[in-house]
Symmetry: C2
Subunit: 344 residues, 2 copies
């Protein structure tokens, strides 16, 4: 899919269907006279070849004239994303810009490409990627179309601006809290330190904090699960730890609140509900999951509202500087609730 | 706000700023020559008067030519809405129509009116209201603009189509289940039977089921709370029941899963966590809250995916028949989990 984005022309379609470029242009622009049969063939060819209305630089409104920000959200969106979106909408309202939200599958470039095409056609001036990871081709395509690309609530290795939390510090501070509460055999659950950048930074923070206490993590303390920060990974980790008692972890740094909930529910399902003295656990996000769970979950609380607001402010400031790359880190807080008591 | 929608003309703006209608038209359409100072005044007046580009019938594309459905969602959207949206997106993809989602405050007509204006400008062919209640003026305005209005996942007293569950049967079947499990003193928690139509139907079903068992509900068994089907209402109900032991309810029909979670968490917070023999509870929705809670919540499970899909199918079928009123009820299922054991 990547190669053809922005590259299919009216000429290509004309060649494919055996009509003149003038006829194809009339059909695609819905102007002048043409037969229904030709229109059908042209539209089929356009769809098949991946054509979309290609705006030349001259044809395109300047970023200052465009007033809409596009947000690409993840299909199975989390609670955390809802908070970011509320921040985006609030800031957009104050700055009098409009917001269009569309959904894509997380790591599916074909799905992301389709949505990005639609965003370009809508003449947005910026596209915010929310838990959706574009590849470099998509990023470059947006810049060609004079649209500012920005990752929100996550950062990647791409050459693209981002607004997110400092994930090394999230890992460090969470682990440090558990150490200060007396725990030493601390597991890392739910993210893959090899495969994604957030997991990598949080894991680096986790090991650095352990090192400061002269603790060397055993390899059994790392439980990746599906590597998607999921509830399911938390549940599965508890089963795994209970089946390998020699692992004997006494606390868990869960890489999301969902994963932390999985830990607490896993204990319940084993018939040993959480109590001070059982596995301590701290999550990440500060979503409503924390206060709706019993026990209530301690969490590294990200400022999602501020992340959303800052993303909009940065996109507006960037204006025509679509090539600018700025990585902004937003402070987080530590919220202790019922799952990090002092070790008995 | 209602009166002015669609009614402010270029003439009104011209009169307000003391320019000719031709000048105002040039400025609003961004064509021809005008000074920046005039443009500023015109735009300020247009914003103040609530002007938006008013399309005459001739100017408007027919519903068949328009390919976008607008969805107006509630700002603090629930998990249930996410499921409806996934159904909407899936059906839209299959039918090759686009979806634009915007957010409004639940019962705030000014907020809803702003979003509806924007939907009209985007030339959508239908607007789906998701947990957002338009007033009759908004509904009429959409029809004038040849846009099909439809309530989704809720129904109201307005003259508007809807796709939702049969709320009388939800109330009846939930209460009947608790009766069959041996409970008799069954509370109704979280919705207001006087103030909203869903609450009214569920309450009617609840009383009808009790009547079939010759049970007359005491007035203390009705706990409305904030009447918003909220988690908080469930928490507050438990406190209320514990402070009035003479009420002595033995089960709760919670009008949402969130409210049911509030009941279970309220028991935990009183130091008497749920156990067979404590208060039984059944919720409504079948959201992921049910399986993420411990104990897992029994629930009247709505078919949100099918509701979303049907809403799109109906909007596409309606086509030009924007005045059509069709109320569709989608079947639900009863999912028993851990909170409705047989009474001890």
């Amino acid at each position: 899919m990547e190669g053809i984005l922005l590259s299919v022309t009216i000429k290509d379609i004309a060649a494919a269907v055996g009509l003149s470029t003038a006829s194809v242009s009339r059909i695609l622009n819905g102007r002048g006279r043409y037969s229904a049969a030709s229109a059908k063939r042209v539209q089929a060819a356009a769809a098949e070849l991946g054509y979309f209305k290609n705006r030349s630089a001259a044809d395109l409104a300047s970023p200052q004239q465009r007033r809409t920000i596009g947000v690409i959200n993840y299909l199975a969106a989390t609670n955390a994303n809802d908070q970011v979106i509320q921040g985006i909408l609030a800031e957009a309202r104050e700055r009098d810009v409009e917001v269009t939200i569309m959904y894509a599958q997380r790591d599916n470039q074909a799905s992301i490409t389709r949505v990005v095409k639609s965003m370009i056609e809508r003449q947005v001036f910026a596209v915010l990627f929310l838990s959706v990871r574009p590849d470099q081709t998509v990023v470059d395509t947006l810049r060609q179309a004079r649209i500012y690309p920005q990752e929100v609530a996550s950062a990647s290795d791409l050459n693209i601006s981002s607004v997110s939390s400092d994930d090394f510090q999230i890992g460090y501070q969470a682990t440090d809290l558990l150490l200060r509460r007396g725990y030493r055999r601390i597991a890392f659950v739910g993210a893959d330190p090899q495969k994604d950048i957030i997991g990598r930074y949080r894991y680096a923070g986790y090991t650095a904090a352990l090192q400061a206490y002269d603790v060397t993590p055993a390899k059994e303390w790392l439980f990746i699960g599906d590597g998607q920060y999921s509830y399911h990974s938390g549940l599965a980790a508890v089963t795994d730890f209970s089946e390998h008692p020699q692992t004997a972890v006494d606390a868990v740094f869960a890489t999301s609140d969902d994963t932390a909930l999985g830990i607490v529910n896993g204990l319940y399902d084993l018939g040993r509900p959480f109590s001070p003295g059982s596995l301590a656990v701290i999550g990440v996000d500060g979503s409503s999951t924390c206060t709706r769970a019993r026990p209530q979950l301690s969490s590294m609380t990200q400022s999602f509202d501020l992340i959303g607001r800052t993303a909009v402010a940065e996109a507006v400031h960037a204006g025509d500087q679509v090539d600018q790359i700025k990585r902004i880190e937003i402070p987080f807080t530590i919220e202790e609730r019922q799952t990090t008591p002092t070790k008995k």
